[in-house]
């Protein structure tokens, strides 16, 4: 039984709805669930860079699937944030090859500089630190990803510089 009162707050913009419907139409009828990954990205973009339970329930309703079918997918991929994140998400690779060339040192340095642990966000809401599995840039480690950009062959200096640039840009 659906309680009708909890709805109405979350809604895609009309142009987003059009885009989503276009994506859904690329899949055979009745297989609209296949569009889920792309819709989750769009939703994350539209609703503050993370997926709340309410947003995921909304998507489930939108796709006419069970909410749990959204949760299980969203929780599987590290690209989806299930908690609020900072403006900038530092996704540092901590898979074997990167660790061999110093990824753990980079992570430790970020922890100390920003005073946060992996999964946490700075108190000013600027940075979130995430450790992620292989980003496919093993030859260029240690590395991290911010949005769609890769930052490779990191050193302490490069890292400090990067953090400063971001801070200044956002001030």
């Amino acid at each position: 039984m659906h309680n009708m009162e909890t709805r109405e707050k979350i809604q895609f913009k009309p142009e987003t709805v059009a885009e989503i419907n276009r994506i859904i139409s690329q899949f055979p009828q009745g297989k609209q669930k296949s569009a889920l990954l792309r819709i989750l990205h769009i939703a994350q973009h539209e609703f503050g860079n993370w997926l709340s339970v309410e947003v995921m329930d909304y998507i489930a309703e939108f796709l006419n699937i069970k909410p749990i079918e959204v949760y299980e997918v969203a929780s599987f991929y590290s690209m989806y944030n299930l908690n609020p994140v900072g403006k900038v998400v530092l996704e540092v690779c901590h898979t074997g090859p990167c660790c061999l060339v110093g990824a753990e040192k980079m992570i430790k340095h970020i922890e100390q500089t920003l005073n946060i642990k992996p999964g946490e966000t700075t108190s000013d809401g600027m940075f979130t630190l995430k450790t992620v599995e292989c980003l496919g840039a093993c030859g260029y480690g240690p590395m991290l990803q911010i949005g769609e950009d890769y930052h490779e062959k990191l050193t302490i200096e490069k890292l400090d510089n990067l953090l400063n640039v971001i801070k200044n840009k956002n001030n």
Partner: protein, 905 residues
């Protein structure tokens, strides 16, 4: 074509597409190849890899290791099930599993019945070589739910619970979140069980190989003295139950996998709602009303009181001033003796049963079209059909195990749902015809019209097997479709599409429930459903037919045994002289040929002074029959009201004599489920002290009244029944086996899965016509009472709730609620949980609101599980014109927000 493959170098035959694991299991013992993620009622999954085997394409050739559960057998291949390599792989896998599983077996709930423990023993783990690393031992137990428990520290990520939730129940409450080390089972949005959408079917607990998911009764523990197989007492599905008994008390219930009816599944009621049986409220001594008070008495005092009163009323007024209502919750044998008491001992045909208030229109309607009222096919034929039509039924709530099967079907194949509410099935169905309550005849006529108009009839079938088609066709083509569209509120294009889909399906199966029968035109709707089946040739073969979802566990049986006023045991018409003679000879006494009162007529007769006594076997008419105030008035006029009951019901409170009966767990006999399957009910525990099985009580009264009848014994009772009920001819207690037999059972003991195969019971199938009429309830009351209230059921409770309210189910569903559309709620300033005053021309009640789009604007729906709410104060005494089944489904009401709480008038 027979194909061969080798298991450990010995050739065996396999069938095309067979998986290696099931191939091996066919020839070796079940646990020959150890498994963890495999379960017998689930699809192969291939997650644990413990079932790994080596396969070579030729003898001594190169081998490949594969998971046997989901790898098909290749012809001529060599399968090695216990090679050195395989044994090593299995051992390594289990060893890895054990690195993250607490080794506290001795104190574990499932000690000695744990699949992980067994497999570990079998592969020979002696040591876990890996140093202690991160683990999940600190996960907290979830004890939030009254029935379900979880202890995910014990979880081995085999996915069996998730698959049971998806594949068996179709609820999709459980899933795996995260990945790698973070993987964990979630319940809805990572809630605990209580806050999740769990429907407490217990399938996950039964599927779990460890104690990671279990139930509060510890049904997987080995703490029991014996397990007794019996049949569930709740709905007409007839689930088989394995009841564990410890120290003479029922400990827990599981669903046997070898049960044809429920294949290892059952629902919250079957699995968990048994604790009522030794509830302190159980009646334990006969009670006689003295000076207005019910006072304890001995059995003999009670029987003497009854016999004296019956004899007095009989000699003063005549036997037709005495009546009885039998119980669809009791066994066939008990029902048989109940009707025998009235017919052969008291001498009247005033005997009816609650089949009257549920599926009597089905019996009447299908007798007129086919010749017999029973379901034409079997439930498991859901697997053999192409399209299913569900009319006026909400099986995921009322018949959960069949409902779950239908839901699985609807996820894969087309389903048509005709229902005023957006039921769970309607949400999955391809076509949902959301009609106004009381317009089934209109919608079914529209469907028939389009089938004829589109020329989709099965001409051959109509010509060979039926009669009356020309007249029928003429009638159907004269329907005014536009008007019917307006009446029903269902878009005619949608009806057309659904009709075409039904007619074009290779095989279409129809199910219906009380949403068809409990109407002014119930019988007519049933006849139109029969017409739909006949016009499309969907009768007499596998995967088709018209199948009423019978409400109560033995409502089929109560009618079969003759607990109805116009037909004797076996549906024989006693107004015919030869039948009358047959019965007289059989019972050895003079019998009445006068047709007796149907239940609604009984109440009217009481008010008119034409009925003075009533014996009720386990039926709470005050709470469950419509227009409660009228029922109370009628019962209060009686000189003798005897009630056999297990609890003090609203009706029992009015009795002159109460006889404490035993519950289904305490007696033996047979129940006949909705697919005509006669199954053995086996006493699990002794009767609670002070109680007797209803059958024994009835036989005691029979003897007290001077007729000789041996004590209650299902074996000898069945022997007697098989001699008079034609379709029970070959039924023998000792030959029913674990899965029972579907009637008609021939003298040689063979049974019948599908009816009307070559010819109909009545010879030719008869097309019947119907014209829609508005119920007088609406025409007379719609001005002052503009809303239509319809009644429904909740999954968690059963009927008047007498039993289920006395279990922890009350913690899950504590109240009746009124379903109301947001539009209507807004109009009356009603918020979720507010009390609403609902008024009909007969009275008013207060009930809690639940705002939902499950009902359309203008339509309300509620249940009558709770006596406090008194929903049936509102319902009307209008009945089906043919079978007198009350119209519970259409009540004209008005609503307003109320301040009061349960101020019933």
């Amino acid at each position: 074509m027979i194909k061969t493959a080798f298991i450990n170098n010995i050739p065996f035959n396999f069938s095309e597409g067979e998986m290696i694991l099931s191939f091996v299991r066919k020839y070796f013992e079940k646990d020959y190849i150890p498994t963890l993620c495999d379960a017998q009622n689930l699809e192969p999954f291939g997650s644990c890899r413990v079932c790994t085997v080596e396969v070579a394409l030729q003898k001594n050739g190169n081998t490949k290791t594969v998971a046997s559960c989901h790898t098909p057998v290749i012809e001529g291949s060599y399968i090695y099930t216990h090679s050195e390599k395989v044994n090593k792989i299995r051992k390594n896998i289990v060893e890895l599993v054990l690195t993250d599983h607490p080794l506290d077996c001795l104190t574990c709930e499932v000690n000695n019945n744990c699949e992980l423990q067994t497999v570990a023993a079998k592969v020979g783990i002696r040591d876990v070589r890996y140093p202690e690393g991160k683990n999940h031992f600190d996960r907290k137990k979830d004890l939030s739910h009254p029935f379900m428990t979880s202890d995910l520290a014990k979880c081995i990520n085999c996915f069996r619970c998730i698959r049971a939730c998806d594949e068996v129940q179709g609820e999709m409450v459980l899933s795996m979140a995260g990945r790698g080390f973070d993987s964990q089972i979630i319940k809805s949005n990572n809630n605990n069980f209580f806050e999740s959408d769990c429907v407490s079917c217990g399938a996950c607990a039964q599927a779990c190989p460890t104690s990671a998911i279990s139930d509060v009764f510890e049904s997987k523990s080995v703490i029991y003295d014996k397990k007794v197989r019996t049949v569930c007492t709740y709905c007409g599905v007839g689930c088989n139950l394995d009841v564990a008994v410890s120290n003479g008390n029922v400990k827990s219930i599981q669903a046997p996998y070898d049960a044809e009816v429920n294949n290892g599944h059952t629902c919250i009621k079957g699995r968990f709602a048994f604790t009522f049986y030794n509830h302190p409220d159980r009646l334990k001594t006969p009670l006689i009303r003295k000076n207005g008070e019910l006072t304890p008495a001995t059995w003999d005092e009670a029987y003497d009181f009854i016999a004296e009163k019956i004899n007095e009323i009989k000699s003063k007024y005549g036997p037709d001033y005495i009546s009885g209502i039998s119980s669809a919750r009791c066994t066939n044998e008990e029902n048989y003796f109940m009707q025998k008491l009235f017919r052969a001992v008291i001498g009247t045909n005033n005997i009816d049963s609650c089949a009257r208030v549920c599926h009597s229109p089905t019996a009447t309607g299908m007798q007129r079209t086919f010749g017999t009222g029973a379901a034409t096919n079997s439930i498991d034929e859901i697997n053999n059909t192409d399209l299913i039509l569900v009319t006026g039924a909400n099986p995921t709530n009322a018949h959960p195990v069949t409902g779950a099967k239908l839901k699985q079907f609807a996820m894969k194949k087309p389903m048509i749902v005709i229902d005023p509410r957006k039921t769970e099935l309607a949400r999955y169905a391809k076509y949902h015809l959301q009609l106004k309550p009381g317009t089934n005849v209109a919608v079914l006529n529209m469907m028939l019209y389009y089938i004829v108009e589109e020329g989709l009839e099965d001409i051959e079938f109509i010509k060979n097997r039926t009669e009356g088609y020309d007249e029928f066709k003429n009638h159907i083509l004269n329907q005014n479709i536009n008007e019917l569209e307006k009446i029903s509120g269902v878009n005619k294009e949608l009806v057309k599409q659904a009709a075409i889909a039904y007619a074009k399906a290779e095989k279409a199966m129809s199910f219906h429930g009380l949403g068809v029968t409990e109407h002014l035109q119930g019988t007519y709707s049933v006849m139109l459903l029969s017409d739909l089946a006949m016009i499309t040739g969907n009768i007499g073969k596998k995967g088709v037919g018209v199948n009423p979802l019978r409400g109560q566990n033995n409502v089929q049986g109560a009618a079969d045994m003759g607990c109805q006023p116009h037909q004797g045991a076996g549906y024989l018409d006693f107004t015919k002289p030869e039948i009358h003679n047959l019965y007289e000879e059989f019972y050895g006494v003079k019998l009445s040929q006068k047709i007796g009162y149907k239940i609604p007529e009984m109440f009217e007769a009481m008010v008119e002074g034409k009925l003075k006594a009533m014996i009720l076997m386990g039926e709470d008419v005050v709470q469950t029959d419509p227009n409660s105030n009228f029922v109370i008035e009628a019962l209060s006029k009686l000189e003798l009201l005897v009630v056999n009951e297990i609890f003090m019901t609203e009706t029992a409170k009015m009795a002159h004599v109460i006889l404490p009966a035993s519950s289904f767990l305490e007696k033996s006999g047979t129940f006949t489920n909705g697919e005509r399957r006669i199954q053995r009910v086996n006493a699990v525990v002794d009767p609670i002290e002070g109680t007797k099985p209803d059958g024994q009580i009835v036989i005691d009264i029979i003897n007290k009244l001077g007729y000789k009848q041996a004590d209650y014994n299902p074996e000898t009772a069945l022997e007697e029944i098989s001699k008079i009920v034609p379709f029970f001819a070959g039924v023998k207690w000792n030959e029913l086996g674990i899965n029972g037999k579907q009637w008609p059972v021939m003298p040689d003991g063979s049974d019948t899965k599908i009816l009307h195969k070559e010819t109909f019971k009545r010879g030719k199938g008869k097309f019947q016509t119907a014209t829609w009429h508005e119920s007088p309830e609406i025409t007379e009351n719609k001005k002052d009472f503009p809303y239509i209230l319809t009644t429904n059921r909740e999954l968690e409770h059963y009927n008047s709730g007498t039993m289920t309210r006395r279990t922890n189910i009350s913690q899950i569903v504590p109240d009746d609620v009124l379903l109301i559309n947001p539009v209507d709620a807004k109009k009356h300033f009603i918020a979720e949980g507010d009390m609403v005053c609902v008024m009909s021309v007969r009275g008013k009640i207060d009930v809690k609101a639940h705002i939902t789009d499950e009902v359309e604007p203008g339509i309300l729906s509620s249940t009558f599980h709770f006596p406090l709410v008194k929903m049936n104060v509102l319902t009307s005494e209008i009945s089906d014109t043919e079978a007198l089944c009350p119209e519970y489904k259409v009540v004209s009401v008005n609503i307003r927000k109320s301040k009061g709480v349960y101020q019933n008038v």
